[in-house]
Structure formats: C-alpha cells, structure tokens
C-alpha cells in the first residue's frame, strides 16, 4: 500500500515539501493564513518578512513544534501534521544555536545520532567526520563556552546535519554574528547546500542574506505570502506594494493613468508626470490607479549647475547621451556611504522623497563629493521609462 503510494507520489512529481491551505492560530491571532507553498528537493528557499509575519511559525510547523490549525503539510508526499518533532528528521539550526552547554563539542554533534540509537563507535566516527568537514575537529573535546561565535555556528550546523536529513531548517542562524562573519558563513552555507543537494529552508529578516543564498524567496506579511520568486523577480518585479517596500532601495509612487500611446503611458503621480511602459499583458483604462516602482539603482544624477549655465554633467554613463524620459529637480537631503555604494535621499519640488543608489566612483566622476555634497544642493534626477515597473 505504502509502496504504491510512494510510486504514485513519484508519478505526480510531488514537491518534497508542500503546505496546503495551512492556517495557524494562536488563540484568536492568525499567525499563518491559508498558506500554499511547494518546495522542491534540493532547493535553497528563504522565507523573509519582518518580525511577527509568520515566517518562524511556518518553520516551526515544519519541524513539528507547532501543529497547523487547518490544512496539511506534506513531506515527501506524506502528511506530517501529527508527527512529533522527535519523529521527523527535520533538524533546525536555531537563532540561539541552542547548543547544549553541559555537553562538549563532539557530544553535541553526536546527540542526534545517539537519539537514533546508533552505537558509540559509529557515532563518534560520523561526528568527527562532520567536525572535520566544518573545519573544527581540533575543538572536539572543548566545551561550548570556549568557542567563538563562528565556531559555535559550525558546531550547530554539524549537529543538525550529522543525521543526514532530507531538509535542513535554519531560523535566522547568522543574526548573532558580526558582518564579516555573516558573509563568510553565507559562503559556507551556500557551498554546503550545493554539495549535499538537500533542501534548505532559511528564515531571515535580512534581505542581503536571503538574496545572497536563496534560489527562491518567499516574502510574508501578517501571516500571508506576498510573493514567491527568485531574488531577481522579487527585486525587479515586486508583486505588491508591500514587497516593493520591503525589498527596500525602491521608490514607490502611485498615480492615475493620464494618457496612453500604445504601450507607453503617462502617469500623474505625487511628483508630477512620469513616463513608463505598460506591460504587454496589462490592459488599463484612462484614470485608473497605478502603483509604480523605480529601484534606487536605476536612477541617474546630474548636478544642477545653474550659475555657470554649462551643460549638465551626467553621472550615469550609460544614460548620458540619451535623453531621459523622466527628469526631476530635487534637493539633496542626506547621503549615506556604505563601502563603495552611496545612498542619497533627495526631495522633489513637490516634497516627495526619492532614494538614489550610486557607486562612489560614479559620484567622483563629476566631482560631486567635493562641490555639491552640501545638503540643500539642487540636483537633477532622471530615469528611463523602461526602469519604471508598474505594480500588478
């Protein structure tokens, strides 16, 4: 019976993990609402959202720490709603790491094997194998409090992976590490996931972590999935205003359709008339309300050099010689340097704030940092009609 079921499952090519209309209530509060999500075997999937969006609850339901109020969760085609946490092989790397302080490093790694009744010699061998794979075998007999943050992270990974699970759950595992180490561990996780070929379900509030590692990103808000897609899709084609906002470094405008010429449209927004292209599959009536997204790195900048009346110096070389579809005079409010990237906050004449992201190099080319970095300086901000994305 079971065998036929498995074959049937194979025939239907059911994804490894399926959430079907899953609802989770805590008392009267809906933590997760009507969730439908399929995760393929070997996928690196990141669930993102701000705190309280239901991402951790989703992960905990997968691990069996919470039981869905409604709906069904299937792992390899089998319903797992009622399985106890200890009856599933869905190890988790916890935000707190939750390493056992009363056990040393190798005993921590052996724990899962011991619970599965694997005998001592085999247990030790497999634990050591994982310790050396994580490059921490020299710490095998150390106690946990003698390790650094990064080493603990590796112990937690080894402990979770030693049982060779089909899926690894990660609950903001890098949030306690400093920035340098986060990037290092991202590399370790990505490589590990590819080598093992197992599914990683990664919960985070950090966009950079999710985008750096995940094949697909799930964005949640208030217990509802807002969008599922590759990082590029989510970034360039947000499915909703929430996603556009959440993904950050986006400028979101809204307005009504004023005129239409084929696919090129003019929209009356907060900052004035904006030229854009309507997607081919999109039909719109004049006056209909539209949401626009212009990502901060799609904008280019030129210094408003009124006094000398010379021609404007464009920063963005690629758009330098073609006339911009959209150009607005703005006043500089603030700038923020993060390494090579600079984020500028400017205000249009109509009082709307726009965010522009540029490389420091590009800014240097027009001598921006020397002459025009005073707050209140006027600048010209422009972008092409192609870079305007119209929200569905």
């Amino acid at each position: 019976m079971k065998a036929t079921e498995e074959i049937m499952g194979d025939m239907h090519q059911e994804p490894q993990i399926v959430f079907e209309n899953v609802v989770k209530y805590f008392g009267d509060v809906a933590a997760v609402q009507k969730m439908n999500l399929s995760i393929q075997k070997g996928e690196f999937i990141a669930i993102m959202g701000s705190s309280g969006c239901g991402k951790t609850t989703t992960l905990r339901m997968l691990a069996g720490m919470e039981t869905p109020t409604e709906g069904e969760i299937r792992l390899n085609g089998e319903r797992i709603n009622e399985l106890k946490p200890s009856e599933r092989n869905t190890p988790m790397v916890w935000q707190s790491l939750a390493l056992f302080p009363f056990l040393n490093v190798i005993e921590n790694v052996e724990f899962g094997l011991k619970m599965r009744g694997i005998e001592t010699g085999e247990r030790r061998r497999r634990a050591l194998e994982w310790l050396s794979r994580m490059e921490i075998e020299e710490f095998a007999d150390r106690s946990i409090d003698q390790l650094s943050g990064g080493q603990r992270q590796r112990v937690a990974l080894a402990r979770a992976l030693v049982t060779e699970p089909p899926v690894l759950l990660l609950d903001e595992p890098l949030s306690a590490l400093d920035a340098n180490l986060v990037v290092r561990m991202q590399g370790v996780l990505s490589r590990l996931q590819k080598e093992l070929g197992i599914t990683f379900v990664y919960v985070t509030h950090s966009q950079s972590e999710a985008f750096a590692m995940a094949d697909r990103v799930v964005i949640m808000s208030k217990g509802v999935i807002e969008q599922i897609g590759t990082p590029q899709e989510v970034y360039r084609k947000p499915a909703s205003q929430f996603v556009a906002n959440f993904v950050g470094s986006n400028n979101i405008l809204s307005g009504s359709l004023q005129s239409m010429d084929g696919s090129s449209v003019t929209i009356d927004t907060e900052i004035g008339l904006v030229q854009a292209n309507l997607p081919v599959d999109r039909a719109c009536l004049q006056g209909s309300h539209l949401g626009l997204v212009i990502s901060a790195d799609a904008m280019s900048l030129s210094v408003d050099d009124d006094s000398s009346n010379s021609s404007r110096t464009h920063i963005n070389q690629t758009h330098a010689d073609q006339p911009s579809d959209n150009q607005f005079r703005c006043r500089l409010i603030s700038e923020e340097f993060v390494g090579a990237m600079v984020t500028l906050l400017v205000e249009t004449d109509s009082g709307f704030e726009l965010r522009i992201q540029l490389f420091q190099k590009e800014l240097d080319q027009i001598g921006f940092s020397e002459s025009a970095s005073n707050n209140g300086t006027f600048l010209w901000v422009s972008w092409s009609r192609e870079s305007v994305y119209i929200l569905p």
């Binding site: 200890s86 869905t90 707190s96 939750a98 056992f100 056990l103 106690s143 979770a160």
Partner: protein, 292 residues
C-alpha cells in the same frame, strides 16, 4: 570643591578598609561570631572536658574521643544515620522530581505559584505536630491499616520501623525538596528542550539528557538540604522510628541524659558536623564541576 573630591578619592584608595561597607557588614559578622563560631568552638573545646561526679570540669584530654570512637555501637549508629539520611535523600529526590517537573513544565505559571504557596503551608505548623498526626494514620489500628483491612490485607506494623522513620523524614523534607527542584527546572532553557526534541529525543530522553543536566545544580542543592535535615533530625527516628537502634541525634540526647555526659555528646555533634560539611562541600563541588 575639586580639591575636596580628590582628597576623598585619595583617602579611599589609601585606607584598605572601606568604613561604609564594613558598617553594613558588621552585624552579620557579629552575629556569625556570636551564634555560630562561638558555640562551635565551645562544642569542640567541650569534647576534651571531663565529667567527674556528674559535674563537667575543664580539661584537655582525648578520653571522650577514644571512648566514643572505640565503641562499636557508635559506628553502628553512625552508618545507620548516614544510610537512613541517604535513603531519604534518594526517596525524596525521586518523589519530588515528577511533581517538580509537572509544576515547572505542565501547569500554568499561576497554578505553579499556588502550588508553591501550598508547599510552604506545612512549614506554618510545628513539625512535631505533623509527626504526631502520623501516629493516627500509621498505627496498627490506624487509617492505613483500616483501609487495607477492607481489602483483606494487613495489619502492617509501620510505627517504630525504618518505614516510619522514612515517612517522618519525608514530612520534614519533601515540600522543601519539591520547591528547591521546581525553581531550577522551571528555569531550564526551553530552547534547549526544543532543540533536543528536534534532534529526535522523546519525552524520556529529553528529561534525562537535557532537563536533569540543565537543572543539576538545583537538584543537588535540594538533595543536600534533604540529607542535612534528615541526618540531624531527632523527631522522626525517635517518635516514628522507635529510637532503636538509635540514630546519632538520639544518641546525643541519650548521652546527655545518662550521667551528664555532655563532652561525649559533643564528640558526636562534632563528628556529625564534620560529616555534613564534607557531604555539603563535596556535593557543591560536584554540582559546579567544570566539564573539560
């Protein structure tokens, strides 16, 4: 102003004794000296005194020590007391653990607070009164034997047995041990419990591998208290255990009553004190031992 504060700072560093802190510590130091160190030293001194014509006279002789430690019945009593106290410690710890675990993990915080309050209530009444109430329950014609009689069992002799002693020890220690165990178990990191379950530990292994190791210090402190209280208890072995063979506290009473042998009783007391100190220090050392 500036000079003033500087002067003060110099004064502080200069003198080794901080007058303010000392003032507050003084009462405690005084109290300990007067009521703990003083009597202890006097008890130790007394072990070297002699009793002549039913009167204690100051001396410095090893006679009492030689006499007491040379007696077989003293050592019988010593090991009996250690055995009973150890048994009480094991029984109380085992009986308390499920209760403490349930209070810590299975009930709401409100219920837990009420339960701890009710566990304190027994201390409101005299331990002696509570011990005597066991007479009614454990006697040949008492409540327990009556109930057992209905199903055709008994009567069993429970008073004046080691079972009786044990019941008395539990009366004394169990509420305290439950309280002492509940607090550390309630403080066990729930994230570790979840992590253990996530790694395949069922209920039993979670308790053995995570909850007990996490709460270890508190569990040991509970056990130490039980041992200390049982080891030094006179009431239970005397009234419920029948005083024969005597435990060390009973021996102290007997020794003082027969021929005013206060010095020999002091020998027993000092040996008890040393034993308790060794047990307590060893246990605490074990509780806090470092894992390499």
């Amino acid at each position: 102003m500036k000079i003033n504060t500087q002067k003060k700072a110099v004064g502080r560093i200069g003198s080794k004794v901080d007058g303010y802190a000392l003032t507050w510590r003084l009462p405690v130091i005084f109290w300990q000296l007067l009521f703990f160190v003083g009597p202890l030293l006097f008890t130790i001194a007394m072990t070297f005194f002699l009793v002549k014509n039913y009167r204690m006279t100051e001396a410095f002789e090893m006679k009492n020590w030689v006499k007491m430690m040379g007696k077989g019945y003293f050592w019988d009593s010593y090991f009996l007391t250690i055995g009973l106290a150890s048994l009480a410690t094991v029984v109380a710890s085992c009986l308390a653990f499920p209760a403490a675990y349930a209070l810590a993990f299975k009930v709401s915080e409100n219920t837990r607070r009420w339960a701890i309050f009710f566990l304190i209530i027994p201390f409101f009444t005299s331990y002696l009164v509570r011990t005597f109430s066991w007479y009614v329950i454990l006697a040949e014609s008492g409540v327990v034997n009556n109930v057992l009689g209905w199903v055709g069992l008994g009567p069993y002799t429970m008073l004046n047995t080691k079972f009786g002693t044990m019941v008395g020890y539990m009366t004394l220690t169990l509420p305290l041990v439950i309280i002492l165990q509940t607090l550390p178990i309630a403080n066990v990191d729930r994230r570790l419990v979840e992590a253990a379950q996530n790694l395949g530990a069922n209920g039993f292994w979670t308790i053995v591998k995570v909850i007990i190791p996490s709460a270890r210090v508190g569990l040991i402190i509970g056990a130490v208290f039980c041992f200390i209280l049982s080891f030094g208890d006179f009431v239970s072995p005397y009234y419920l255990g029948g005083s024969k063979p005597p435990t060390l506290p009973i021996m102290i009473i007997d020794t003082t009553k027969s021929g005013q042998q206060w010095p020999r009783a002091a020998v027993v007391a000092v040996i008890m004190m040393v034993t308790l100190m060794v047990v307590a220090f060893a246990s605490i050392k074990y509780a806090y031992r470092k894992k390499s």
